[in-house]
C-alpha cells in the first residue's frame, strides 16, 4: 500500500517535472538571441521567401499559441519537424540515439564493472599502496579532460602506431545493410574500442571512489566483526557482505550517470567523429533548430528523471530497511 502510493506520487511528480522542463526549454530557446532562420535562409532567397519560411515553422504566431501547440504535441510525443532536415524529430533521435547508446553503454558497463571491483578492493586494502594507486588513478580519470585523452589516444594508437581507426563507427566507404549488422561486425568493434575505452576511463573514477568510501563505512560496522567471528572467509566477507551493502550509493549514482550517458559525450563524439546524439544536440542548439533541440533535451531529461525514479525503487528492493513512507 505504501509502495503503491509512493509510485503514484512519484509518477505525478515525474509528469510535473517533465512539464516544467519542457516549459523552461521552450522559453529558453525563444529567449536566446539569434534568428532560427539564420541557418536556413541563404543570400539567394528573397525577403518574401524568408517570411514564408518563418510562417511554415509557425514562428510568426504569438508565443502563447506556439506554446500551447508545443504542449499538445508533447503529450503525444510529437516533437515536430527539424527546421534543417525536414525530418520528424523522432526520426532524428532514432537515427543518432542508438549510436550513442552503443558507445555509452559499452563504456558504462566496462567502467562500472572495473570501477566497482577496484573500489571494493581499495576499500578492503585500506592504507596499502594499491589503495593509493587506485585513488590516484580515479582522480586522474575524473580530472583529465576526455577530449585531451581522446586526442592523445588517437595520436599514439591511430596516427603513430596505426592500430586504431581515426574516425567514425565503420571504415571509410563502408555501407551497412542494417544497424544490427553494423553493431555485430568486427569493423565496428574495432572502431568502438578506442572511444569506449577513453570514456570508460573517465566514467570509472566515479564508482571507484564512491564504492571505496562506502566500503570503508560498511567495514567499520559491527556485522563485519560478526561475520569474521562466524569464521567466514575474507573473500566471502568482502564481496557477499561488505560489497553488497556498500553498493547502495553506487546504484543511485549509476542510475543518474546512465541517464546522463543518454545525452552522449559531445567532446568524444567530436574527437572520434562518432555520429551520436550529443553532437546533434549541440548542433541543433547552435543552429537554432528548436524542434530538434527541444526534443533531444526532453528525451534526455525524461531519461534522467525516470532512472532516478527507478533508482529510488531499487533502493527499497536492495535495502529492506528503506520504507516508502
Amino acid at each position: 500500500m505504501g509502495k503503491a502510493s509512493f509510485v503514484i506520487r512519484r509518477t505525478l511528480q515525474l509528469v510535473v517535472t517533465l512539464w516544467a522542463v519542457g516549459t523552461v526549454l521552450f522559453g529558453l530557446f525563444r529567449l536566446m538571441p539569434g534568428d532560427p532562420t539564420s541557418y536556413v535562409v541563404s543570400s539567394q532567397m528573397t525577403q518574401e521567401a524568408r517570411r514564408q519560411i518563418i510562417a511554415s515553422y509557425g514562428l510568426n504566431e504569438p508565443l502563447y499559441v506556439q506554446y500551447v501547440k508545443f504542449l499538445q504535441n508533447l503529450v503525444v510525443l510529437d516533437f515536430g519537424q527539424s527546421f534543417h532536415s525536414n525530418q520528424p524529430v523522432t526520426q532524428v533521435i532514432a537515427t543518432y540515439l542508438p549510436n550513442t547508446l552503443v558507445l555509452m553503454l559499452t563504456a558504462f558497463v566496462a567502467a562500472y564493472a572495473i570501477g566497482i571491483t577496484l573500489g571494493v578492493l581499495s576499500g578492503w586494502y585500506r592504507g596499502s599502496r594499491f589503495e593509493r594507486s587506485t585513488v590516484i588513478t580515479a582522480l586522474t580519470a575524473r580530472s583529465v579532460p576526455t577530449f585531451y585523452v581522446g586526442l592523445i589516444v588517437l595520436w599514439i594508437f591511430g596516427a603513430e602506431l596505426g592500430v586504431i581507426p581515426m574516425s567514425g563507427m565503420t571504415s571509410l566507404g563502408t555501407q551497412n545493410a542494417s544497424f544490427w549488422e553494423m553493431v555485430f561486425s568486427v569493423d565496428f568493434l574495432h572502431h568502438l574500442l578506442a572511444p569506449a575505452l577513453v570514456l570508460g576511463f573517465y566514467f570509472m573514477g566515479y564508482p571507484l571512489l564512491i564504492m571505496r568510501s562506502s566500503m570503508l563505512e560498511v567495514l567499520s560496522e559491527d556485522f563485519i566483526d560478526v561475520c569474521r567471528a562466524k569464521g567466514l572467509t575474507e573473500r566471502t566477507i568482502m564481496f557477499k557482505h561488505a560489497a553488497r551493502n556498500a553498493m547502495l550509493p553506487v546504484v543511485t549514482a549509476a542510475a543518474i550517470a546512465l541517464g546522463y550517458a543518454v545525452g552522449g559525450s559531445v567532446l568524444i563524439e567530436t574527437v572520434f567523429a562518432w555520429p551520436g546524439i550529443g553532437r546533434e544536440m549541440v548542433r541543433a542548439v547552435l543552429r537554432r533548430d528548436f524542434p530538434v533541440a527541444q526534443g533531444t533535451f526532453i528525451v534526455l531529461a525524461a531519461t534522467i528523471i525516470i532512472l532516478n525514479f527507478v533508482a529510488d525503487l531499487a533502493y527499497g528492493y536492495l535495502d529492506p530497511r528503506v520504507t516508502y513512507d
Binding site: S42, H84, Q175, A273, P275, E280, R283
Partner: protein
C-alpha cells in the same frame, strides 16, 4: 606613446589579434603596401612601404579644439574564436587599428546565428566582417547588397548604402541582353562601388584544391564552386587503380532535398552532381553545350529563351528525361514559391514545351544574363517524383533521384554520404564512387589525407594545418582566385559612417597585409575590388584603390574637417 606608423608592432599585433596561435610568425609585413592595380587614391607619397617613421598624428595638429561633437562608440561584431579563428583574430586586429585612429571601439563576440541576425535583420552593428560568396553573376549579388530599395530589415542591403544612380546602372545591366555592353556596365558599377566603398574586400580568398597526389589529379576549377564544381568532377583523373573519390566535411548534411536545403556549399556540392542543369559552365565561366543538359539555346526576344534538350538522356531510375520535365521544373519552383529559388523565380513567368526537344522559358521581366543567373542555378527535377508533393521545400527525401553524373548510393546520417557513377551520363566522371565522411577534427582529416584514407579536401580550408602540411610528399594543392572575399562593411545608418571620407579613411586603416601574411599564412590576395579577377572580363583593374596607411587616413579625415581631442579621440566636423 609614439608608434612606428609604417608597421604594426609585433606585441600589439599579437595582443590585438589575441592569437596565441600566431607564435612563430615571421616579422610582420608593413602595413602600407599599395594594393591592386589602378590609380591609387590617397595623399600621395605615403604608400609604397616607405621607411618613414613619422610619429603618428604628429602632423595632424591634434588641436583639441573640440570643434566637433564626439562620435559614438562603434561596435564591431565578431564571430567566436572557435567558429572561425583567423577571422576572429583579424577583426580584433582591425578594431585595434580603428582605436588607434581615434574611434571609440567595442568588439562584440557573438555566436554566428546571433551575429547574422544582428547584422542582416536588426542592423544593430557598426562594422561587420564575414566571408562573402558571389556566384557566377556578380551584379545580381551586388543588386541585392546595395540596391536602395533593399534597405528594409532582411532585404539584403545591410550596409544601408543608397545611390539611385547605381540602382539605375544595375537595373540596366540586368536587363541588357548584349554581353559586351554588360561588361562595360559592370565596370562602371564596380568603379562607383569602389569609389564610395559601402563595403571593402579585405582579402580575396582563393579556391583551394587540397588532395592526395598519389590518388587523384587534373584539378580544374570553375568560377562559383571552385574545385568542387561539376566541371572539376567531370575532368578529374584518378591515378593508378584508384576508383574512389574520398572526401570529408566537418559537419553532417542536413537533407537530401534539392529544393529544401539552405544553399550551404556542403549541399550544393552534392546536388551539383546528382542533378543536371539546363546550362553548365566550363572553367572560363562560359556556358558549355558539350556538358550541359541543353545542347543549344537562343534568345527569342528580351523576355524569352529557348533551349534544345538532349533526347537520349534518362533519370537515375531509368525513366526518360524529357522536355516536359524541364518545363515542369521551372513552373513548379515558380508556382510553389520554393524559397531557395525565389530570386530566380522572380524572373520566370512560365515554361512551355515547344516540341519533343525544345523548351521555351518566358520571363516575367527582362534578364540579360539569364543563363548565368537562372539556367545555371536551377536543378532539373523529375516530374514523376515531384508532381505529387504539395510542399516541396519541406519534403523529407531519403533517396533523391536526379539525372546528373552521379547517383545516390547511401546516406548514413551524421556519418557518411555516398554516390556512384551514372554510366549513361553525357559527361561521365572517371571515378566509380564518391563519398564524404563527416570528420569534425581537422588533425584527423590531415592524417587521413596523408595516408590516403581520404584523397581530397572539399572544404578547402585555409588554415595553419594547410600551411604545415602542404609540402608533404603525398599532398597536392592548387589555388585559384575566387569570387569570394572577407568583406568589411560599415553600417551607414550609424552616425559618421554615412560619410564617404570616413569610410575611405577606415579602408585605409584596414591592415590587409598583416591579415593576409600573418593570420592567413599568405594564401589569399589582398582585396581591392569587390568584383574579383575571377570574373574575367567583367572585372576591371580601373577602380579606385586605397593605401594601407594610417597617416593617409588621418590626413583625409583632417581635410574633411575631423579633429582629435586631448585623448586622441576622433571628433566629427563642426556642424555635423
Amino acid at each position: 606613446m609614439a608608434e612606428d606608423s609604417e608597421r604594426v608592432r609585433r606585441r600589439s599585433f599579437l595582443k590585438a589579434a589575441t592569437a596565441g596561435g600566431l607564435a612563430g610568425m615571421t616579422a610582420l609585413a608593413g602595413c602600407s603596401d599599395q594594393t591592386g592595380g589602378g590609380e591609387s587614391e590617397g595623399e600621395g607619397g605615403s604608400g609604397g612601404g616607405g621607411g618613414g617613421s613619422e610619429t603618428e598624428g604628429s602632423d595632424t595638429g591634434s588641436d583639441s579644439s573640440g570643434s566637433g561633437e564626439s562620435l559614438p562608440t562603434y561596435t564591431y561584431v565578431n564571430n567566436s574564436q572557435s567558429y572561425n579563428p583567423p577571422r576572429h583574430d583579424a577583426i580584433n586586429l582591425i578594431a585595434s587599428q580603428f582605436g588607434d585612429l581615434g574611434l571609440d571601439m567595442e568588439v562584440d563576440v557573438l555566436e554566428w546565428g546571433t551575429l547574422f541576425s544582428r547584422v542582416s535583420q536588426e542592423y544593430d552593428y557598426s562594422f561587420a566582417t564575414w566571408h562573402t560568396f558571389f556566384v557566377s553573376e556578380p551584379v545580381t549579388e551586388l543588386n541585392n547588397l546595395f540596391n536602395s530599395n533593399n534597405t528594409d530589415p532582411g532585404q539584403g542591403n545591410y550596409s544601408g548604402y543608397s545611390n539611385p544612380e547605381l540602382d539605375e546602372m544595375m537595373g540596366n545591366y540586368l536587363a541588357e541582353p548584349d554581353t559586351d555592353t554588360r561588361i562595360n556596365q559592370a565596370h562602371e558599377i564596380q568603379k562607383t562601388l569602389m569609389d564610395d566603398v559601402p563595403t571593402m574586400p579585405i582579402t580575396q580568398m582563393p579556391q583551394a584544391a587540397i588532395f592526395n597526389s598519389n590518388q587523384v589529379s587534373n584539378w580544374q576549377a570553375d568560377l562559383a564552386n571552385g574545385f568542387n564544381s561539376y566541371w572539376t568532377m567531370i575532368n578529374l583523373e584518378m591515378v593508378g587503380d584508384n576508383t574512389e573519390l574520398k572526401g570529408y566535411w566537418p559537419e553532417t548534411l542536413s537533407t537530401m532535398n534539392v529544393l529544401g536545403h539552405n544553399d550551404e556549399s556542403k549541399h550544393v556540392y552534392q546536388f551539383n552532381m546528382l542533378y543536371d542543369f539546363l546550362v553548365q559552365l566550363n572553367d572560363n565561366a562560359e556556358p558549355d553545350p558539350e556538358v550541359s543538359l541543353a545542347t543549344d539555346w537562343n534568345r527569342v526576344d528580351e523576355t524569352t529563351m529557348e533551349y534544345t534538350i538532349r533526347t537520349d538522356h534518362s533519370w537515375h531510375d531509368g525513366e526518360d528525361l524529357t522536355a516536359e520535365d524541364v518545363a515542369f521544373t521551372y513552373n513548379y519552383i515558380t508556382e510553389n514559391e520554393v524559397p531557395l529559388y525565389s530570386t530566380q523565380a522572380q524572373y520566370i513567368e512560365n515554361a512551355e514545351v515547344v516540341d519533343e526537344q525544345t523548351v521555351r522559358i518566358n520571363m516575367s521581366q527582362p534578364l540579360g544574363p539569364f543563363n548565368l543567373a537562372v539556367a545555371n542555378l536551377v536543378p532539373v527535377i523529375p516530374q514523376h517524383k515531384w508532381e505529387g508533393r504539395s510542399n516541396p521545400a519541406q519534403a523529407n527525401i531519403q533517396e533523391p533521384v536526379g539525372s546528373g553524373p552521379m547517383m545516390f548510393d547511401y546516406w548514413e546520417q551524421g556519418s557518411e554520404f555516398g554516390m556512384v557513377r551514372f554510366d549513361e551520363h553525357f559527361a561521365p566522371v572517371s571515378f566509380e564512387r564518391r563519398f564524404w565522411r563527416i570528420i569534425p577534427e581537422a588533425s584527423t582529416v590531415w592524417e587521413n589525407l596523408i595516408n590516403g584514407q581520404l584523397n581530397y579536401e572539399p572544404f578547402g580550408r585555409i588554415d595553419r594545418s594547410l600551411d604545415q602540411n602542404q609540402d608533404n610528399e603525398n599532398i597536392g594543392t592548387r589555388f585559384q582566385t575566387a569570387p569570394t572575399f572577407w568583406m568589411f562593411t560599415p553600417n551607414e545608418r550609424q552616425q559618421g559612417l554615412d560619410d564617404v571620407q570616413m569610410r575611405k579613411a577606415l579602408v585605409e586603416t584596414l591592415p590587409r597585409t598583416p591579415i593576409v601574411e600573418q593570420i592567413l599564412f599568405g594564401f589569399p590576395e589582398e582585396g581591392y575590388n569587390i568584383v574579383s579577377s575571377a570574373f574575367g572580363p567583367l572585372h576591371t583593374e580601373d577602380v579606385t584603390t586605397y593605401d594601407q596607411s594610417p597617416e593617409s587616413a588621418r590626413a583625409r579625415l583632417e581635410e574633411a574637417g575631423y579633429t582629435w581631442d586631448d585623448n586622441d579621440m576622433l571628433q566629427a566636423p563642426s556642424g555635423n
